[in-house]
Amino acid sequence: MIEITELYKYYGERKAVGPLSFSIAEGEIVGLLGLNGAGKTTTLRILACDLLPSSGSVRVDGRDVVDEPHEVRQRIGYLPDRPPLYDEMTVHDYLVFAARLRGIGAKEASSRASEAEELTQLTGVKDDPIQTLSHGYKQRAGIAQAIVHRPRLLVLDEPISGLDPVQIVEMRNLLRSLKERHTILLSSHILSEISETCDRILVIQDGRIAASGTEGELSKRLTGSTIDVIVKPVTEKGGDVLVEATMRAVMGVTGVERLEDESEGAAWSYRGSGVPGVWSYRVTADEDVRSSLIHALVHASVPVLEVKRSARELETVFLELSTTKVKASAGRSGSARASKEKA
């Protein structure tokens, strides 16, 4: 659906994007994740034919954005970071206008507008002037104008930003429902949103893809496996040494760290639960060694309460990816491979 090869974009002397290459298959929902200034918006604007690339090739559904911009625009629904809304118009009139701009006849435009209102749950406010809508509704109106001409590809620039928690959940559901009809590329710096909504994440840094994959893949590649272990205190003398040694002896374990701070790891959930002063450990390993850990601990008669994969926040992964140059460049070759396989 999208094929970007060696894309560069310069603003004067300053490079905003490049070299950027990735591809997205039909029906995928892909998140473009990056810090401000990483080149997300520029990339999306080029896809939407709002900007022209400095060099490289960008194709949507086989059409080049420079040679056939009209064909590309017919196939794309674009929501910029600020929804392009005419405040004085009503929602319905605005959507009809947006549909007609994309060459849909007057009669058909009205029914398409109603369809988009239904999908984005705007039917209740369709006759309200846009300026009276809340931020969440405005964002939905922005998405409605992007889908009103039934494009095959949706390009959404930070659709979640500025929404309250309830609106975020609604927007997430909306995006999931849109997935059935459209291929979606969305950008964000809200990481949890990306991981929950997208099939795949492209981490963009300095205008290049720093890494690509699912949240799990990204996390694993960077960090191996981290496991949180909680045990009841072993009261015998030398109990703590026994527990640590038992875990260290398990094949694949590379490190065991006792977490003293109760707010770290999983121990916080035991506070006030009647289990006095649990011992909490963070185990790092080359692979997932949970079953071997449990086996070893039980065998050594250690009262195990919990063994689980550490819920490493994507935020951490993301920060490591976008701030550590060495790791980023290592990931880059991997991402190129990943996107080729995908293509």
Partner: protein
């Protein structure tokens, strides 16, 4: 062209749905009315055709100012509000965007001229004027307005916001207006060139007395076309930036 008309219709309804549009229109009409009463009708008795000529001179000034104000919003205002991207990413040509904006603002300029029609009627009631002078005079003002509008739209295409747009428009238009004065103090053959390039005064004189000259029409159409083209090219060029 269908897209241009669609844009023009939206633009017009947006002008008319805001109080600001009416306030600006009302203010220009009021200023013209006062000037007409105080200066054009006042003073020593004159021939009706002379009064009508002064009327057109008065209205031409108001029209140029109105054109600059009307032109500031269409492109720069949309850029400021973030709605220009909707047009930029729709399958329509930049020519159609500029044409749509131009047509909408030109319709309002024409509406403004229609609303001044009571002034020539007043002259007709108290004296004798020909329909030809009225029609040709109005045509001249409309052509002048179209040129000023095109200049303003070019400023609007260049500018980041509406204030800068109107300033750029005024900075380009003002020399065109005052070239005739420069021409008066310049030696030949330069003065001939300067007065031929001037947009107001000498260029309007023939229209004001009811004489339709092809060269004058060609001049205004040429200026309008040139600046509309420049506005279109500016929109195109901005995609490279």
């Amino acid at each position: 062209m269908k897209s241009a008309l669609l844009l023009a219709r939206r633009e017009l309804s947006s002008y008319l749905s805001s109080f600001l549009g009416f306030i600006v229109l009302g203010a220009v009409l009021l200023a013209e009315g006062i000037y007409f009463n105080a200066v054009d009708l006042g003073g020593a008795p004159r021939l009706s055709s002379e009064v009508l000529k002064s009327f057109f001179y008065t209205v031409s000034g108001g029209t140029m100012m109105l054109a600059l104000v009307l032109a500031m919003r269409p492109i720069a205002g949309e850029r400021e509000n973030g709605t220009l991207v909707l047009l930029n990413t729709a399958p329509i040509r930049d020519t159609e965007i500029v044409a749509g904006k131009f047509l909408a603002a030109l319709s309002l300029l024409a509406l403004h001229l229609v609303l001044t029609v009571h002034m020539p009627l007043l002259i007709a009631v108290n004296g004798k004027i020909t329909l030809g002078q009225v029609l040709v005079g109005y045509l001249g003002v409309l052509l002048l307005g179209a040129s000023a509008l095109a200049i303003g739209l070019f400023g609007s295409a260049l500018a980041k916001n509406q204030v800068i747009a109107v300033v750029i428009g005024a900075v380009i238009l003002a020399p065109f207006v005052f070239l005739w004065a420069v021409a008066r103090v310049t030696d030949p053959p330069l003065n001939a060139f300067l007065s031929a390039a001037a947009i107001h005064h000498e260029r309007q004189r023939a229209f004001e007395i009811g004489v339709l000259k092809l060269e004058n029409v060609v001049y205004y159409v040429g200026v309008t076309y040139f600046f509309l083209l420049a506005a279109t090219k500016t929109l195109e060029a901005r995609r490279w930036r």
